[in-house]
Amino acid sequence: MGDSTSPSDGPAEPRRKSKKPKYSRFTQQELPACKPLLTPMIVVTTFALIGIIFIPIGLASLSASEQVVEIVYQYDVDCIPEQSQNDKVAFIQSSVTNKTCTRTLTVPRHMDGPVHIYYELDNFYQNHRRYVKSRSDKQLRSKASEKVTTNCAPEATTSDGSVIVPCGLIAWSLFNDTYSFAIDSKTIEVNKKNIAWQSDKEHKFGNNVYPKNFQMGGLIGGAKLNASIPLSEQEDLIVWMRTAALPKFRKLYGRIEMDLDANDQITVTIQNNYNTYSFEGKKKLVLSTTSWIGGKNDFLGTAYLTVGSLCLFLAMAFIVLYLLKPRTLGDPSYLSWNRNPDGHY
């Protein structure tokens, strides 16, 4: 922009220049303005206020977290028979081994329904760059876009070239362990409806898109899909395809729509199909109630308490400092040229 003047501005210049600037509060940079200043009062009040607000919030979060009852059971190692412990991968990849695994869990406290069933995977990078890109949202949504498999390789087409629906690594690696629960041999109903977001079901996954050529390739990644159910109703898939943010994550498996009493013995039958053994991923089954801050989570409460008390402390510290070393605000004798007048004049 340096060389923007031109002779054509030239002739116009004297005329324009001779205009007296129009006076307005804006052009004279005198818009009415508020001039906040960090007076001791404001500083102390701010810190105290933060403390007063944060500590109750912290306490409330802690108590909410306390009320959440959570049963976590890591079964990846447990559910491998003794003889296969040395070669877990072979066990899980074999198609003949019996992968059913029955365990009993004790309910520690009363759990109000609905009780959420999650599976938790660890060391599984659902956020890996290769992985998150490996999907086709167009294909998932409409039948017309079935052939759009741009980012889906290596799970875009079968070896004979026909498209896979749903394509991509994410769908291919769909989690396929299943759980069933019983108390005193009475099966507990697991509600697998509405575990996915309504928005996904309605707009992201088409109700006329059916699985096609899925898990037909040389390498089976995970669950197979019922080719007669449209994707919008394959809620396990929809949940799975909401890729997790962190390498350790939970996904909703279903809900138990009843209360569980303390000391109830729940018999869990796990179909241990999913291969996390080749990369030392952990698998956990989680039964949890919820509260207003979600699941069990002590961190936020602790953090709020810490910040709150720190602020209270700071408020106190500032009061002490202000009392010990008071300074009149706006005292000109503090100006540098008044303090050492012989420096300059």
Binding site: S6, D9, P21, F124, Q126, A245, H344
Partner: protein
């Protein structure tokens, strides 16, 4: 003082006196100055460098060997190869075989076709843009495709687009004004022999054009005839060089008498060049001998015809070849110091960027190496592709390559560490700041109706860090409006004029009253002497004195109508203010100049109208430093009147006569100059008939000579100007501008050293120094006037020991002033003594350099600029200040009396010296503060974002996934956070104008780099790392065991970053007006809206995530927690430092807030001239 003091030889002391006769100067300058400018003496490398940038400015008079230029000026005959042949009134033949450029002009840079490539080419001169272009290019490689192609291009495209739109708009405006200009009409001689209107753009070289009074000239024309029988025409060149006075141009007698339609002939002229003061041509007129044409025979496009009812001329240069077009040049481009410092931090950021990328690369390499064997078993990696006929690896090139890709991908992801938006923000902010500077009513000059001009747009913030001000004297500190004050006639001092009556002396002409526009106070004694009250001899001498004042000049009287029909004002138009003053003075004493043509002068001598024939005129030149006229008086005597500088005049007086008078005159001159007056000496000689004849034949020979005309004329002048009788001397006062002493006092308090560099005599300079409070009586003066290198050295050593002695004397040291003249500087500058001078000068509080040449001015600026980091500012109004203005970090031109050369070379231009105070202390302070904060903030803002991305990458198997959606990443620095920093950068004020003017010391904050330094940068970066940790880890820890998805958490992060950085800005804002509120809160709102929009696109994986997040309490708790935890350290530090380690600015803010401005301890100085009621 410039134009009237054409520069002098750099190696010789410049003793051309300002007080000298001015302006014949301009014409003499015209013959040579351009050639001089082109041939810069190679010894002065400084100016050569600075001039390279602005070769387009023909205006600078650079000193060089005058004789060279004279040779160039007139001895050179144009060879046929270098000539342009113009057949008068025969455009067809003229334009054969080569057609000259037509008269349409194009000032636009682009056409529709070239706009895109050319504009882009220009923009990519900026290295940062190339960097972003390379990264965008890398991103298009499939293996590195981090962003979708559209997203990766968008930020760069946005920045380029904004600049392109701005450039395009400016160009369109130029295009429009070009079109208007091209379609104006002019009267052109048609084949039928009559003048018909023709559009400007259709005028061809060779056509004969007629221009009537007050019209603008359509092209450069050689004058053929004018309405004046003697062939005189007056033009105003305000559009060309801004000088508003009239210039005289002549048509050659050979063509004057020919009717236009029958004019024919051939003009051989130079090829088009940009020298507006030079022109070289010859004309072959049928039936006449060859006549030579010079600069006084050409009128240039853009000038206006005045006081002449019509002129006829032949077009010689048209359109792009005209001198005005060849002279169009851009504003100077400098880079501010803040920007230079900023580049240092940009390099630090680049190092940090490489470090982050290396960390990610190493970790990614290690991870890949560890998982090398199981990559295909990793459900989320799956390196093999079975879908093809044979098993193949998919998008995998081995650990080594994948590691390399990791590095490149991380550079792409983290690229915003180098803030791209900063560059465009800086441009916009500077534009806004410039707007406010221009609009400031305190910098509007009522007198000349000029407002402040920002010519350079990239050094606004330098105004806040100035340490040295180098000021010209005449026209800068003073008004350059000369007032005749006193005269010494025949050795008698008449300086009682101040007690005299204000004489509105008027004359009666044909029943009308003519009165000079300006009245001058007269001295009753001198009046008495003039009227013969003190003897006939004294009366005659006084008569001759005033006759000399009225005749020996180039002033043109112009009659101005007044509301009263019978009263007319005589406005003396001339190129030199000194001459104007003298003519007004002569008029007041009864010698009213009524009319001037090239042949005669009409003077009303005390009521009696007399006609004087101008027989010859020797123009002013800087070797002789005087001018003279030869006048044929009504009583048939022939008199030579000379006026000039004292030292040049006393060399040519008749020494054995009037010794007393000479002595008395010298004494008077000395007392005048110590009063700060500009002095001129007037002398005369009566020529005998024989002498006159001899002179006349020599003069005629010289004027018709084709070769060496200038030299011959000068020799003739020198020959005539000898054995003069001293008539007397005049003292002209150049008034101090309003508010100068106060301004200098303010700047002194602000820690700015003011040096005055002037061409004036030492006595004049010192007295002005006293009157503008630069020098005070308690100052110890060190004066260096030496004539040799050795004595210079000795004087400097003395001065050094004296200053150290005084400095050692303790706190009660008296301030020092150094006064040095140009002669001494010759032996000092560019030698090893420079270092000595630097040491002495920097210990002095005031430095006054007198009798300095333009290049020496630049040399003194360079003395400081090359040895310290301190910012220098040069302010001046004349052509002799150009080199200094270009040399200094900031150059300021005063748009005053002496033309616009200084303005054209300057970065900023204004009407009055005292505007420096609001410019530096108020706008400079604000601009610096704002820009410094904005740069730091932009670094911080982008770094926070990059760090948040970086922490996340550590949890993605180093695969460089970004949780924040790519569109949010792209919009982050262009939409989410851009506007508030620009608004704050333009509008925020740490202190009010009133406070800044009341405590000029506050300016030192800028000199100390208080608002932008490495310490602040490091502190900001540490804060930034903490904030990024708060932003990333609070959600990370809160959502560790949850089913949150990438996009949801990403939305939380982006909102947290945006809100946090905006709150950070909000915390540092000094003044909240509605615009600040709107931009800060509006930006947060805009971000939320954008995130919602992005999450409403089903195509993107993050569809609806934000709504699901917002539905949970955890989300809001995280957001609140992040903001508070992120801000607490900064807030606490800020509160702590503001209270316990307050800066001056902070205390002044408190003062402002609590209104207890009862600062009794502070020396109050009257500031009424600058402060405004707030």
């Amino acid at each position: 003082m410039a134009a009237n003091r054409p520069s002098s030889n750099p190696s010789a002391p410049p003793d051309d006196d300002p007080d000298v006769l001015p302006k014949a100067a301009s014409r003499s300058r015209s013959s040579s100055s351009w050639h001089r400018a082109e041939r810069i003496p190679s010894s002065s490398s400084n100016s050569a460098v600075s001039f390279e940038r602005s070769t387009s400015k023909p205006v600078a008079s650079f000193p060089s060997k005058r004789s060279d230029s004279e040779k160039l000026g007139s001895q050179r005959e144009i060879s046929d190869d270098d000539a342009r042949f113009v057949y008068v009134n025969d455009p067809g033949r003229t334009n054969q075989p080569i057609k000259f450029a037509d008269n349409s002009i194009r000032t636009t840079k682009y056409s529709v076709l070239t706009f895109l490539p050319r504009n882009l080419f220009e923009q990519f001169h900026r290295v940062a843009y190339v960097y972003f272009l390379i990264l965008a290019g890398l991103n298009q490689v499939p293996q590195l495709g981090v962003f979708t192609p559209a997203a990766s291009i968008l930020p760069l495209a946005f920045v380029l687009g904004v600049t392109a739109v701005k450039d395009g708009y400016e160009d369109w405006r130029r295009h429009r004004s070009d079109r208007d200009e091209n379609n104006r009409t002019a009267q052109v001689l048609a084949p039928g022999g009559e003048f018909r209107p023709k559009r400007w753009k259709d005028i061809l070289v060779g056509e004969v054009v007629k221009v009537t009074a007050d019209e603008t000239l359509p092209c450069d024309m050689v004058l053929l005839a004018t309405s004046d029988p003697t062939g005189v025409a007056y033009v105003q060149t305000i559009n060309l060089d801004g000088e508003s006075n009239l210039k005289t141009r002549y048509a050659k007698q050979e063509t004057q008498s020919t009717p236009p339609e029958s004019t024919a002939g051939l003009i051989r002229c130079e090829k088009p060049n940009r020298n507006i003061y030079g022109f070289l041509a010859s004309a072959d007129v049928p039936g006449e001998k060859r006549v030579s044409l010079g600069p006084s025979n050409i009128i240039l496009r853009g000038c206006e015809l005045k006081n002449t009812s019509w002129v006829v001329g032949v077009a010689v240069y048209t359109g792009q070849d005209t001198k005005v077009m060849l002279n169009s040049s851009g504003a100077p481009s400098k880079r501010s110091r803040l920007e230079a410092h900023m580049n240092r931090e940009v390099i630090l950021l680049a190092v940090a960027l490489v470090a982050l990328c290396s960390i990610v690369t190493v970790l990614a390499g290690v991870w890949l190496a560890n998982h090398h064997h199981e990559l295909n078993d990793l459900l989320y990696y799956r390196k093999e592709d079975y879908s093809g006929p044979k098993t193949d690896t998919y998008n995998y090139y081995g650990v080594g390559w994948e590691t390399v890709f990791s590095f490149l991908k991380s550079v792409i992801i983290f690229q915003v560490m180098i803030p791209i938006a900063l560059y465009i923000s800086m441009e916009l902010v500077r534009l806004g700041q410039a707007f406010f500077m221009i609009q400031d009513k305190n910098m509007f000059d009522e007198g000349s109706k000029t407002r402040f001009q920002c010519r350079a747009l990239n050094i606004n913030e330098d105004l806040g860090q100035i340490k040295y001000v180098f000021s010209d004297k005449t026209g800068t500190l003073t008004e350059n409006k000369m007032e005749f004050r006193c005269a010494s006639v025949g050795g008698v001092d008449y300086s009682a004029a101040s007690d005299g009556e204000e004489d509105g002396h008027s004359i009666t002409v044909d029943g009308e009253t003519w009165r000079p526009k300006m009245s001058v106070k007269t001295d009753p004694e001198l009046m008495n002497a003039l009227m013969g009250g003190e003897g006939i001899e004294k009366a005659n001498r006084a008569r001759d004195f005033f006759l000399a004042l009225a005749t020996c000049n180039t002033i043109v009287p112009i009659l101005v109508d007044t509301p009263e029909p019978s009263l007319k004002l005589i406005d003396y138009q001339g190129e030199s203010p000194d001459e104007q003053a003298l003519v007004y003075a002569a008029a007041a004493y009864g010698f009213v100049l009524m009319q001037r043509t090239s042949g005669h002068i009409l003077i009303d001598v005390v009521g009696e109208r007399q006609r004087f024939d101008v027989l010859g005129l020797h123009e002013f030149d800087s070797d002789r430093k005087r001018m003279s006229v030869i006048i044929g008086c009504p009583d048939r005597t022939v008199k030579l009147f000379v006026k000039g500088a004292d030292n040049s005049m006393f060399g040519v007086v008749q020494k054995n006569l009037d010794l007393d008078i000479i002595h008395a005159t010298k004494t008077n001159l000395h007392s005048y100059s110590s009063l700060g007056l500009r002095t001129l000496v007037v002398g005369m000689r009566e020529l005998s008939e024989h002498e006159f004849k001899k002179w006349q034949s020599a003069y005629e020979n010289a004027t018709t000579a084709l070769i060496g005309r200038g030299k011959l004329l000068k020799a003739i002048a020198s020959n005539a100007e000898r054995d003069l009788h001293i008539l007397g001397a005049s003292g002209i006062e150049d008034k101090l501008q309003q508010g100068v002493p106060e301004a200098i006092e303010s700047m002194r308090q602000a820690g700015i050293k003011v040096w005055v560099l002037t061409g004036d005599k030492q006595e004049t300079a010192i007295s002005i120094g006293y009157s503008c409070k630069l020098l005070t009586s308690e100052m110890t003066q060190i004066v260096i006037n030496s004539n040799s290198r050795e004595s210079c050295k000795r004087r400097l050593q003395d001065a050094a020991s004296m200053s150290s002695r005084l400095a050692g004397a303790g706190s009660a040291k008296s301030p020092l002033a150094l006064i040095i003249d140009g002669t001494s500087l010759v032996y000092i500058l560019e030698t090893e003594l420079e270092e000595e001078l630097f040491k002495v000068a920097t210990t002095c509080d005031v430095v006054l350099c007198c009798r300095v040449a333009p290049l020496q001015k630049a040399g003194i600026v360079a003395l400081i600029k090359n040895r310290t980091d301190d910012m220098t500012l040069a302010i001046g109004d004349g052509a002799n200040d150009v080199s200094m203005i270009q040399m200094a970090d900031v150059g300021i031109g005063i748009s005053g009396q002496e033309g616009r050369q200084a303005v054209m070379a300057s970065d900023f231009a204004m009407g009055q010296f005292r505007f420096l105070v609001p410019l530096l202390l108020v706008h400079g302070h604000w601009n610096y503060q704002r820009m410094a904060y904005m740069i730091l903030y932009n670094f911080y803002r982008n770094a926070v974002f990059v760090f948040v991305l970086f922490w996340y990458v550590l949890y993605t198997a180093y695969s460089l996934t970004s949780a924040i959606s790519e569109w949010s990443s792209v919009l982050y620095s262009v939409i989410y956070t851009a506007l508030p920093t620009i608004i704050v950068g333009i509008l925020d004020k740490d202190l009010s104008r009133k406070t800044l003017l009341k405590y000029p010391q506050l300016y030192r904050a800028g000199q100390r780099d208080e608002r932008y330094n490495l310490k602040l940068f490091i502190f900001t970066m540490m804060d930034c790392i903490w904030q990024s940790i708060a932003i990333f880890y609070i959600p990370y820890l809160a959502y560790r065991h949850s089913d949150v998805d990438v996009s949801g958490l990403g939305d939380l992060w982006i909102l947290a970053v945006v809100i946090l950085v905006n709150i950070h800005l909000a915390m540092d804002v000094f003044r909240w007006n509605w615009l600040t509120h709107a931009s800060v809160w509006g930006c947060i709102a805009a971000t939320v809206i954008c995130v919602i929009i992005i999450d409403s696109i089903w195509m993107l994986p993050g569809y609806w995530a934000i709504f699901n997040m917002m539905g949970t309490g955890l989300f809001w708790l995280c957001l609140l927690g992040i903001i508070v935890a992120g801000m607490v350290p900064r807030f606490a530090t800020k509160a702590l430092t503001e209270y316990f380690l307050p800066s001056d600015v902070q205390i002044a803010r408190e003062l402002e807030k609590f209104q207890n401005l009862n600062a009794s301890t502070i020396l109050e100085i009257p500031m009424s001239t600058f402060s405004d009621p707030q």
